[in-house]
Amino acid sequence: MNQPGEPKNGKGFLCLGIESSCDETAAAVVEGGRRVLSNVISSQIEIHKAYGGVVPEIASRHHLANVNPVIDQALSEAGVSFSDIDLIGVTNGPGLIGALLIGTATAKAMAYALDIPLMGVHHIRGHICANYIAHPSLKPPFVCLIVSGGHTAIALVEDYVHYRILGQTRDDAAGEAYDKVARVLGLGYPGGPLLDRLAKQGDPERIFFKRVYLEPDSYDFSFSGTKTGVLNYINSARQKGESFRQEDVAAGFQAAVVEVLTEKTIRAARAMGQKRVALAGGVAANSCLRASLERACLEKGLELYVPPMELCTDNGAMIACAAYYEYIHHVPPADLTLDAYPVMPLGR
């Protein structure tokens, strides 16, 4: 029998998801973990462009100004009110601490005022869960490649609450390397999508940049060497007064990063005996990475799951989804002392 407030096959069980870990203030109402009733995102990208990157203090100030109206909009678009909400999920790490605490303080106060349970959600677990929303039939286990501004990792998603880290970056996240290269090429912010667009017009084979595989059996990544290689190439060409096509540099760099990401992900899936591979995180929006994984999965007979663009970038729906599954799988809800953390382990 269902306890009052417990999900009845998830139907009618509403979770409010709140996300403010970087430069998007987002809130969503999700029914039964996967049915998105609303997904409101207020982006600060335009504001941070003038600074060439996210400024934490400015981001925090805007989160505070935006979070309440964004939540109002999420409720009204879903056609529900606060009293209909059964659970609140909030990103409480990892991310920019000043930004995280706006969402976390807000979610804590709301859950307290409504007397409903609250789940603190790991931002990257949220990204992985975006796949459940995008693919209604997808169930764990599967292998997931997570690529975002701050994270690069391969995880074995064992079930809805257990994640095993197979490998992660030892230095720069792929997104960081993208941003740095984009900055040196003078592309502006956010660098990733701009570099991806430029690379499409370039020849990925004209300039070769080093692929860093580390130990033969390792699933870890290192992108700082590749990044430095690109920066050295650009600097030395500029010093010698030689011209180069920016498009080719972008394409060559992207090819080097994507090749390593693809190879390790496929190898991990096969070693773990998994037939399914999922992609998650902001960089999952990258067209070259998507294409490369599609090719490789097709070749090896693996199923590839990729969320649509709007679920790849930071959003509240993925947080609500993750909170829902952790809640129904008996992860204890947060108490009044929930804190936010800039760094947080994804799994064992």
Binding site: I58, L101, A105, Y112
Partner: protein, 255 residues
């Protein structure tokens, strides 16, 4: 009317309850600065001890700054979210005024000074007669000298705030015996005063809703200041010499 007061702009976090401006209870967290963790338990405790619920509150008063940027936001975010769900007003209370108000019975000008880093203080000065305050120095980010010159003619000036840690000796040097420092345990921002003033502000129609209630940092972020300075420099560089001269002459004329 019951009003919950929230104060998280300094090293102490506190929550207080008043009834029609009269203090019922205050809870204070004195530990490492982990206000996000401790604020809600403090609120829960003051309510439970008075056998009250959030639904009994008429408004939420929150210390809106200046102070620690992060601290201000934890209090504001919590107040706004509680008010949004409960559909009650938020009263954004000026932090420095609340500090002064708590000491309104002193026969002196009350001058709160907070360490604003970058060799500045957030300061203000008030003189009270009863519950009415006269502003001697408008709240702002100042060099200490600016604050001192604003109160230099006063007979007695009562100082409080964490700015005394760094600037106490310089204040004493400048004002000698005319400067009175509050004892250490009474120097910091407290929710009791926020809640009390919150009631009077509410009566005067100064309650806001959860969207319009905003913090007062008294200072833009470092990145914004740097960007503005850079843009100004570039504008000046690209300005034709004649225009620049005219502008400078104009500035001279204004003096």
């Amino acid at each position: 009317m019951y009003i919950l007061g929230i104060e998280t702009t300094c090293a102490l976090a506190s929550a207080a309850l008043t009834e029609d401006g009269r203090l019922l209870r205050e809870e204070v967290w004195q530990g490492p600065m982990t206000h996000l963790q401790h604020l809600l338990p403090l609120i829960d405790r003051v309510l439970k001890q008075e056998a009250l619920q959030l639904s009994d509150l008429g408004a939420i008063a929150v210390s809106r700054g200046p102070g620690s940027f992060t601290g201000i936001r934890i209090g504001m975010a919590t107040a706004k979210a509680l008010a949004q769900v409960r559909n009650i007003p938020v009263v954004p209370v000026p932090t420095l005024f609340a500090m002064a108000w708590a000491n309104r019975r002193q026969e002196a000008v009350i001058c709160p000074v907070l360490d604003a880093r970058r060799n500045q203080v957030y300061g203000a000065a008030y003189r009270f007669s009863g519950k009415e305050a006269k502003e001697r120095l408008k709240e702002g980010a100042y060099d200490l000298e600016q604050v001192l010159s604003a109160v230099s003619q006063e007979e007695t000036v009562c100082f409080l705030g964490d700015g005394l840690e760094r600037y106490g000796s310089r204040i004493e040097e400048a004002l000698g015996e005319r400067a009175v420092f509050l004892p250490k345990e009474e120097r910091l921002q407290r929710a009791a005063a926020v809640s009390e003033i919150g009631f009077f502000m509410y009566q005067r129609g100064l309650g806001e809703n959860y969207v319009t209630a905003m913090p007062e940092y008294l200072r833009s972020s470092e990145a914004e200041r740097n960007l503005l300075a850079k843009q100004k420099k570039e504008r000046e560089k690209s300005m034709p010499a004649r225009e620049k001269r005219l502008q400078e002459e104009g500035r001279e004329n204004l003096k």
